[in-house]
Symmetry: C2
Subunit: 356 residues, 2 copies
């Protein structure tokens, strides 16, 4: 059943997600976005899930980028309420997330898991807040833009801050963001037909507790003790395993199908063929991905390096002509990105910046 908030969203979003093949458009904000009637002292902001790994990174990114705000509320579960946080030199008390948390809030950055987003994001939207949601709850909803600012800013062209109407924008999954940051500029030049992705995913994707578990287990293993497994079923220290997301009836886990489905939505191309194998490796917070690309038209290695060399947010690493494909129709690329930063918090804050 569609929530009232989503019905509201639909109103704004018609025709908003067409993929632009022009690379020069990647970072130019559509004119519609800058028309707004926001207060000059900046938006009021709420951070939902502020005590988590991504929540903490939201604060760090907001501060690093001097995000303009007139007020900021730190929201978390009852368990964390009352904790003190320092942000931009001021002391804040973490408040419990309730339906009243969004009164007068312009922008809310959510990273508290799918069930919290499902419950509270529609409430926030009804109150006129623009929610940037880091969970998977609304990503595949056809009325919700799924946005990587460098990739498909046009998807949020109809979302406006300051018009009194709330909206929901979804942050893609971390592995999708990191993959598409590199694959999209190549796709724009020479359409990707098929993509085979194998991931090397960090502990951070499962939150701060998973990072602590990796550290604790590693100490235990080095001391010759049995590793303590809480977050993951298996030993994580010096080990790797299939991503812990639930396995679906087709044998893929949810993390893998996110890469498949989110790529189609972000590229607005229902025909792009994607398969993924998602693996957790014992690293802390950077995801890596081995991406094999098959193109409709030739794209040589040097051109690919030039294209990526000019892309904001990309550093060029290994790019190889795939020897298993004829001519210049295939490339192997290896991509890495900070899972918490570009894979989550930075991307969400960039979306918020586009609203200003």
């Amino acid at each position: 059943m569609e929530s009232p908030a989503l019905a509201l969203q639909r109103h704004f979003l018609t025709g908003s997600s067409c993929f632009s093949p022009k690379p020069s458009l990647s970072l130019r904000l559509p004119a519609a976005i800058v028309r707004m009637s926001l207060r000059e002292d900046g938006p009021s902001v709420s951070v939902v899930g502020v005590t988590g790994a991504v929540g903490q990174e939201f604060l760090s990114v907001l501060s690093d980028r001097s995000f303009p705000y007139r007020s900021i509320r730190m929201l978390a579960s009852k368990r964390s309420a009352g904790k003190h946080l320092t942000f931009d030199g001021r002391d804040y008390v973490v408040e419990e997330l309730t339906p009243d948390s969004f009164d007068g809030v312009d922008i809310a950055l959510f990273s508290a898991g799918g069930s919290i987003s499902k419950l509270f994001a529609p409430i926030a939207v009804e109150k006129g807040t623009i929610v940037v949601d880091n969970s998977s709850a609304f990503r595949m909803d056809e009325n919700v833009p799924l946005v990587i600012p460098e990739v498909n800013p046009e998807a949020m062209v109809h979302v406006k801050l300051g018009c009194g109407k709330g909206a929901l924008i979804a942050n893609p999954n971390c592995s999708t963001i990191i993959c598409l940051m590199a694959a999209t500029p190549l796709h724009r030049r020479s359409k990707v037909k098929r993509m085979v992705v194998s991931t090397y995913q960090a502990a951070s994707g499962a939150g701060a507790a998973a990072m602590e578990e990796l550290e604790q287990q590693t100490r235990e293993v080095l001391e010759g003790k049995e590793p303590t497994c809480k977050i993951f079923k298996q030993q994580y220290a010096f080990n790797l395993f299939s991503h812990n997301a639930p396995v679906l009836s087709n044998g893929y886990n949810e993390e893998e199908m996110k890469l498949v489905k989110e790529t189609r939505k972000i590229w607005n191309d229902m025909n792009v063929k994607v398969t993924a194998t998602c693996i957790r490796v014992p690293v802390m917070r950077a995801h890596a991905e081995s991406v094999n690309l098959q193109f409709e038209n030739p794209l040589d290695e040097d051109t690919a390096k030039d294209i990526l060399g000019e892309c904001p947010g990309c550093g060029v690493g290994r790019i190889r002509r795939d020897v298993s494909q004829d001519g210049d129709y295939g490339l192997d690329i290896f991509v890495c990105g900070d899972q918490i930063r570009k894979g989550a918090a930075l991307n969400a804050v960039q979306i918020a910046e586009m609203l200003l």
Copy 2:
């Protein structure tokens, strides 16, 4: 220039490497191999590079499998000569490897690096020894069988122990062995056209010192210290990087091209298309590989599970129909194997067993 030993090899090997499409043949030894005139008290064996990670595993595997031998010599560099080793309850002194080390030796298991193999394997062969070489030195020599016993035992059908003539047999690279143990039974049923491999390789592939480096660096990082880099240029603890093999002119590193070329040779199929991305991950000694397979004929997931379930040396894990390919023409499999054991020592000892 071809060495005399290799000219000798050619004599034995004509027509030996045709790939058998019948899975039932996989572990049946061709009759020619069992005709031999070996002494009843077993062969004399030399282990070259006995103090290394694979050398130590040779001993462990020989002991575990009760490999019959009448004598065994422990050979290593001058630096390790004089060290004492216990094997099968007896004390041995490590001897320096010299040209005389192979006098009267029936089988030599080499794992001391390519340059040692290049120098000493031909000498051993001239002296009538059958060398099973774990280095890459002779793998792509057309006169040298490249053998995984479960995959292509027929490649060594003309190598005979006890006939007074030496021979060279190459052990494939660890990542090739682990990949093909799973891919071959499927390939036999429904020819593989193309294979995209991404590896997750353990420290052990770079030897015992690399395993120690991973352990030491991990301790250092946990103590907040700078990690000490000796074997690898980069931090290895809680990190990953492209395999440290030299990068070739096509951008692939040697490890990646081994997977491409060795697969062609072992399958005796110059048309099979393979690409690989080889990555070191901070695990100790098990390699894992994400393998995407494209078949000439349909092969469904359940049949694939049944096939692999019956394969000696395979345990069935994740097998998925690839959603990026039409119908049943593609599978995603994830394979793991002990790099030191099946990836090196066990495979070599299995080859030696086939000679008995």
